[in-house]
């Protein structure tokens, strides 16, 4: 464990994260209701997800597949035999007053998340469960409200819980861990991992101990973390609070604490509501999950190339820098776009330059993304080809890219419409060169006197006379000839 920056030399932090990720299946975990965010309250419900008498759950095979694929991407061991259990407690966001979850036989065990530093954070397990509904209290808390409204649209949405070992040492590492998890999940397409919409949620278990000690200190669970940044801030705050406790000679109490974004502090949430014996037992309404090896290996072959593998390939096969490869692979859709441009143009380096340069620039200016832009990879590739075969200049191409990306126009059409094609007719180019030399006798003299810069000025003058259409390579050649 590394030391907490700024901490007294004698303590270190030990952090484990429990991350809940909503799976992006078409329907809910145990019924046929649509799994969607943002619908009017209680419109995506049925007898099963409302826990009506006599209703029974049937496991969503796609959710099992998604969880297993997430596990495979993180190097987990997939259980060939697994089961669902009931977690019993009363809470009005839970229609049955138990949650179907997995207790002692989760779908996956082991695996790890690799941080940018190369440090591996091991995973304990990933299990599948159903999400709860959402409570809206009339007052500040459930106990102090005249009434509580419940929206069951979210009840029964498939949720995977990813539990890490207590191997994270700082707030920064916690944020990096989440970022990497998010990248992997969005890459394999099992979740949209939006923390602000609640499709990724995180609880942090934090403790401190004397540096180098083997035993874990008393842990505190922090809830109510709404963004990666709040995870980091809450952990920083909590470590500081614990160290203050130790300094003051107070005992750290094992408890659940809530993060308050506004005040930037945590507060004790300990109450009777949270003191539970969950009385787990196997859900008799569901049959055990037995995943055959054939099925598992088929899912494995369906996994897309993951960010780390892509980065390595871009550096090795395309000759890109580590940095460029990292930028291009941070989102799967961006990487897919880039690869399509590279393939269609046959020029990965130019494709990378365009994607990270002008394409990004025009999209940012228009507040668009690759997904919302109308330009497709084939058009960008066509533009690259127009430059490569000398039809237009690189400068002209920069004028074309906006129409291509934002309006979805064909580069050749824009070039024709704006008359941007270069002139490679020797007679015409020679005429522009001669005209420029004639009009700029001073510069010709300077050049001949040894001022190299004058040459570029003359090139510019020729281009200006040709309104950018003269093939710049021909211009340079002719100028050298005339001045030589």
């Amino acid at each position: 464990m590394s030391k907490v920056i700024g901490a007294p030399a004698d303590t270190e932090a030990v952090i484990g994260l429990e991350v809940h990720v909503e799976l992006l299946t078409a329907s809910k975990m145990f019924c046929g209701c649509r799994n969607a965010f943002g619908a009017p309250p209680n419109t995506l419900v049925c007898p099963v997800c409302l826990g009506m008498p006599g209703s029974l759950p049937v496991a969503n095979a796609k959710a099992v597949e998604y969880l297993c694929k997430a596990g495979m991407a993180l190097g987990c061991t997939i259980a060939e035999y697994s089961k669902f259990d009931r977690k019993n407690y009363f809470y009005p966001d839970m229609p049955k007053n138990y949650q179907i979850s997995q207790y002692d036989m989760p779908l996956t065990t082991g695996g790890s998340v690799t941080l940018p530093s190369g440090k591996r954070v091991n995973l304990t397990r990933i299990h599948l469960e159903e999400d709860t509904g959402k409570n809206v209290h009339a007052g500040e808390s459930i106990a102090r409200s005249a009434y509580t409204l419940v929206d069951y649209n979210r009840a029964g949405v498939p949720l995977m819980e990813i539990v890490s070992e207590p191997e994270i040492s700082s707030a920064r590492e916690a944020e990096e861990y989440l970022a990497e998890l998010k990248a992997v999940m969005s890459y394999i397409g099992v979740s949209d991992v939006k923390m602000h919409e609640g499709s990724l949620r995180c609880d942090a278990n934090v403790s401190i101990r004397p540096a180098g000690a083997r035993e874990l200190g008393t842990k505190v669970e922090i809830k109510n973390l709404n963004s990666f940044r709040s995870v980091g801030r809450a952990i920083e705050y909590e470590i500081e609070r614990m160290r203050a406790c130790v300094r003051e000679g107070e005992r750290i109490v094992q408890e659940t604490r809530g993060w308050d974004e506004g005040s930037g502090t945590t507060h004790s949430m300990r109450s009777k509501e949270l003191a539970h014996d969950y009385r787990y037992f196997p859900d008799p309404d569901l049959v055990p999950l037995e995943l055959g090896r054939a099925l598992l290996s088929r899912w494995r072959t369906e996994l897309p190339e993951l960010p780390a593998a892509k980065r390595t390939r871009y550096v090795r096969d395309f000759g890109l820098s580590e940095y460029d490869a990292g930028v291009l692979t941070s989102e799967r859709s961006d990487a897919d776009f880039f690869e399509a441009v590279a393939a269609a143009s046959g020029n990965p380096k130019q494709a990378a330059n365009w994607m990270m340069g002008d394409v990004r620039k025009v999209l940012d200016r228009a507040e668009m993304t690759l997904a919302s832009a109308r330009g497709r990879p084939e058009q960008v590739a066509a533009l690259i080809t127009l430059v490569a075969n000398g039809t237009i200049s690189g400068k002209a191409a920069k004028e074309v890219i906006e129409s291509v990306m934002i309006d979805g126009r064909q580069p050749a059409d824009v070039v024709a419409e704006r008359g941007l094609a270069q002139t490679s007719d020797a007679g015409a180019v020679a005429a522009f060169v001669d005209q420029a030399l004639h009009a700029n006798a001073d510069s010709v003299a300077s050049y001949k006197a040894g001022k190299e810069k004058a040459f570029e000025f003359l090139v510019g003058q020729v281009m200006k006379l040709s309104r950018g259409k003269a093939n710049v390579e021909m211009v340079r050649g002719l100028l050298k000839e005339r001045l030589g």
Partner: protein, 492 residues
């Protein structure tokens, strides 16, 4: 002519001698005439039944194929959800609950042309063996109105026993079909676990609950089970095993059939001379039909009750957690939502339900779970093995369904353990998941007693075959008439 059975009614309808509406009117009249003394129904649904009967008659007039139960009046226990018809599970907590869906078995019955005439009384949430735990009323035994009809499917047993309807649906968790069937002199079938969908049946103990028919004769049970059985995509625990045409497996002799007699059960019943004699004669009747009697052993059956009273309450404690007043059913308001939960459950559940919730909660509690629930599941596995070994030596098992004839109302209601003991002979089959049925076997003290027949998993056809041969040879169900009797009401 008389038509006491469903298949007779269907045949008369097929011949055009009687309409579905007439059959339904007859059943409704029989219920009206007996209900004051029997108290078998929580709700009779005449308008719905007659409207449905008209549809069946119209379909027949159009020349549509007759379903397996076309025009047959059927009653269903109030544990089955019926779309648009109040479903209470015999509990105050669901007194006002009208489900927006029907149980799969109800839909299947109706798809075969059955006419549902009402919802029958039951022990609250199917917890009980006398029907006295109903939150609404106590049903009487048609053979003696001082006596209980058995339970929990007491209303279904009583209405069939009095010949108001030929077929009723019950559910059996530890004996809730077989014991009342024995008490009311009717046939009652608990199918293999997984044979019948549980979707839409208010859950008591999920790993044990099974729906099954209660009928006047074996043939009706065969037809009714054929109608309701089979895989249901809405129930993961329903088995994807083909449903045979059971009526084709009914037999008239038992040549080549080995019938197992359970030594441990014979020891238990021996002290009661009258009961012992009745069962001895039943076994001899089976032998007379050509069966070979062989001794078999169910050594773990003595742990049945203890095992059952850990597993069933444990599952029930979780299944019944949803009744909290938040979404449907009774709500008693409190100062906050958790008080509302407490107040609703305190007011809505009866004493036996509370007792079992407490038992089950305790059995699942941390520190006790391994000693109770986990160990009970291990005994259950041993009990399944007992049956496997027994069925290696015989084709079916014949044994007592009950330890006594019907008892008086109130006789056991203050003694839960005495009541639990009523399920002694029926619980092992429930724990093992094998099919079992009670078929009328005669009378003790002028009250009916049933013989229990048990078969290996998914061998209901074999069980029906033996039951039919025995029923046709002995005709106990037709030997006497109950005192509350709709008689030969189904006259053409």
């Amino acid at each position: 002519m008389t038509m006491n059975t469903g298949h007779e009614i269907r045949e008369a309808i097929a011949r055009g001698e009687v309409s579905a509406v007439e059959a339904t009117e007859t059943a409704l009249a029989a219920i009206a005439a007996t209900e004051r003394r029997l108290q078998a129904y929580l709700q009779v649904t005449p308008e719905r039944a007659l409207a449905r009967a008209k549809e069946i008659d119209a379909a027949i007039a159009r020349g549509q194929d007759l379903g397996l139960l076309a025009g047959v009046p059927v009653a269903v226990k109030d544990l089955f959800c019926t779309q648009g018809v109040r479903t209470t599970a015999g509990s105050k907590i669901l007194e006002n609950f009208v489900p927006p869906y029907s149980a799969t078995v109800v839909r299947r019955l109706e798809a075969q042309g059955a006419i549902i005439v009402g919802k029958t009384n039951m022990d609250e949430f199917a917890m009980g063996s006398s029907c006295e735990n109903s939150a609404f009323k106590a049903t009487r035994n048609p053979w003696s109105t001082e006596d209980v009809p058995g339970g929990s499917s007491g209303g279904s047993a009583a209405t069939v026993g009095a010949r108001c309807v030929p077929i009723a649906l019950g559910t059996d968790t530890g004996g809730s079909i077989r014991e009342p069937a024995s008490f009311c002199g009717v046939v009652g079938v608990k199918p293999t676990y997984g044979r019948v969908s549980r979707y839409g049946i208010v859950a008591f103990a999920s790993s044990l609950d099974q729906a099954g028919p209660m009928t006047v004769d074996v043939r009706d049970s065969a037809d009714a089970l054929e109608a309701i059985a089979g895989f249901d995509p809405m129930d993961s625990t329903s088995a994807n095993v083909d449903v045979p045409h059971y009526a084709a497996q009914l037999r008239n002799d038992l040549k080549g059939i080995r019938v197992g007699i359970v030594s441990e059960f014979e020891e238990s019943i021996a002290p009661d001379a009258a009961m012992h004699a009745l069962y001895k004669r039943a076994y001899e009747d089976l032998r007379a039909l050509g069966a070979e009697l062989v001794d078999v052993s169910l050594p773990h059956s003595k742990y049945g009750l203890a095992t059952y009273y850990l597993i069933a309450p444990a599952e029930a404690s979780s299944n019944l957690a949803r009744y909290d007043g938040a979404r449907y059913g009774l709500r008693v308001d409190g100062p906050d939502v958790f008080s509302m939960f407490d107040e609703t459950r305190a007011a809505g559940f009866g004493p036996e339900v509370k007792r079992r919730i407490i038992l089950g909660t305790y059995a699942l509690s941390s520190g006790y779970y391994d000693a109770y629930y986990v160990r009970a599941q291990k005994v259950r596995t041993l009990m399944k093995k007992d049956f496997d070994e027994a069925f290696a030596r015989c084709d079916v098992i014949a044994c007592p369904a009950v330890s006594c004839p019907p008892f008086q109302l109130g006789a056991k209601s203050q003694d839960p353990v005495a009541m639990y003991l009523m399920d002694f002979f029926t619980i092992p089959m429930s724990l093992a998941g094998v099919p079992a049925m009670s078929v009328p076997a005669g009378y003790v003290d002028d009250l009916p007693v049933g013989l229990q027949l048990v078969a290996p998993a998914f061998e209901e056809g074999r069980m029906f075959g033996v039951a039919h041969a025995y029923e046709q040879a002995t005709r106990h169900a037709w030997a006497r008439t109950p005192i509350v009797y709709a008689g030969d009401g189904h006259a053409a």
